[in-house]
């Protein structure tokens, strides 16, 4: 559902989405290479909890509760005052904390964060997605109709 506020938040959401779906190792490597890591305080220390995942009856009907997924989250405040939130699937407290710091930095200098962290991660996701797609595509059946001969 597009609302005025959701349009405004779209770039920040897109960055957070990319960070959450990134593999932990890749994110950690890119974060390692970020030069000016800020001093920060943990507003909410990283913690693990559950999110109940919902499906829809029939695929598009009334929601139902499918089962829970482990989720990590953290909230930090960097020295320049921005507050960042990190949320991701799994029990990876370090990943959630790093996402929160990057989210705070993004609010201060989005362009640099996009260029050095978000864009490379997005590319990684794109490439791995293409690979999976190509592997699945090789198993797609090419039907051809046999014409019965006269024998």
């Amino acid at each position: 559902m597009q609302t005025a506020s959701s349009n405004r938040n779209q770039p920040r959401k897109a960055a957070l989405d990319t960070l959450a779906t990134a593999p932990s190792r890749a994110l950690a490597d890119l974060w390692d290479r970020w030069g000016d890591k800020p001093v920060y305080t943990k507003v909410r220390r990283p913690e693990v909890g559950l999110v109940m995942v919902r499906g829809r009856a029939g695929g598009g009907g009334a929601p139902f509760n499918l089962g829970e997924a482990s989720v990590s989250r953290a909230t930090v405040r960097i020295a320049s005052g921005q507050v960042g939130h990190g949320y991701c699937l799994g029990r990876d407290l370090e990943k959630a904390e790093v996402i929160a710091i990057i989210d705070a930095l993004w609010q201060r200098e989005a362009a640099a964060v996009e260029a050095e962290i978000i864009a490379p991660l997005r590319e990684l996701t794109r490439v791995s997605g293409l690979k999976k797609q190509a592997e699945a595509a090789a198993t797609k059946v090419d039907f051809f109709t046999m014409v019965r001969g006269d024998n």
């Binding site: 507003v43 909410r44 220390r45 913690e47 507050v83």
Partner: protein, 199 residues
């Protein structure tokens, strides 16, 4: 606006265990004073004792009721949302826990969820901030958890508390349970406690 994010237990597991123990002991030994853990930075209106109990007992699954002053204060509601995720309900009858910053702001006890015959435990647990745990008019308490009888001298109970409490006892096994907080501590009055005036 960011200050509401600060606060919460500095050591969540240990702090909430300690606070839970205090509340449990308060209800198991009605009338005794149980110390709550050291106060946390919190929205001014809530007060450290209410915050301790709030953080310990509420979560995403526990609907809570707040008195008008608390509910109208965004610092309070945002603090609660961030630290507990507890849904805030307007009707006292739908609350699992109720938090009131003063007796004047508390509806009649029978307005809350009194539980059912099959599930009397589904009632509301009311947490009321009083002015002081000592120095007030003496009430005698007796019943389960109390050897013979004991006294409480709270300042800041609702005006017709004695009558309301008697009415609450009539409903047993239904009814509400009460936690009274002030001075960094809590006194518990489960629905089984008998109260009489005087000595």
């Amino acid at each position: 606006m960011d200050t509401i994010l600060e606060g919460g237990f500095s050591s969540p597991v240990l702090n909430s265990q300690t606070a839970f123990r205090a509340v449990m002991d308060a209800l198991a030994n009605p009338g005794t004073v149980q110390k709550l853990i050291a106060p946390q930075p919190a929205p001014r209106r809530l007060g450290p004792e209410l915050v301790s109990i709030l953080l310990t007992l509420s979560d995403h699954d526990s609907p809570i009721w707040l008195d008008d002053n608390l509910r109208g204060d965004t610092a309070v509601t945002e603090f609660i949302a961030f630290h507990t995720g507890a849904p805030v309900v307007a009707e006292p009858g739908r609350a699992m826990f109720a938090f009131a910053s003063a007796a004047a702001a508390l509806p009649r006890l029978d307005q809350f969820n009194l539980g059912t015959q099959e599930y009397p435990d589904r009632s509301t647990t009311i947490v009321l901030a009083v002015e002081a745990l000592t120095g007030g008019e003496q009430l005698v308490v007796s019943g389960p958890g109390i050897k013979d009888h004991d006294h409480i001298n709270l300042v800041g109970l609702p005006e017709d508390f004695f009558a309301q409490w008697s009415a609450n006892r009539e409903l047993f096994p239904r009814g509400i349970d009460l936690l009274l907080v002030a001075d960094g501590a809590v006194i518990g009055l489960p629905r089984t406690t008998r109260i009489s005036e005087g000595h």
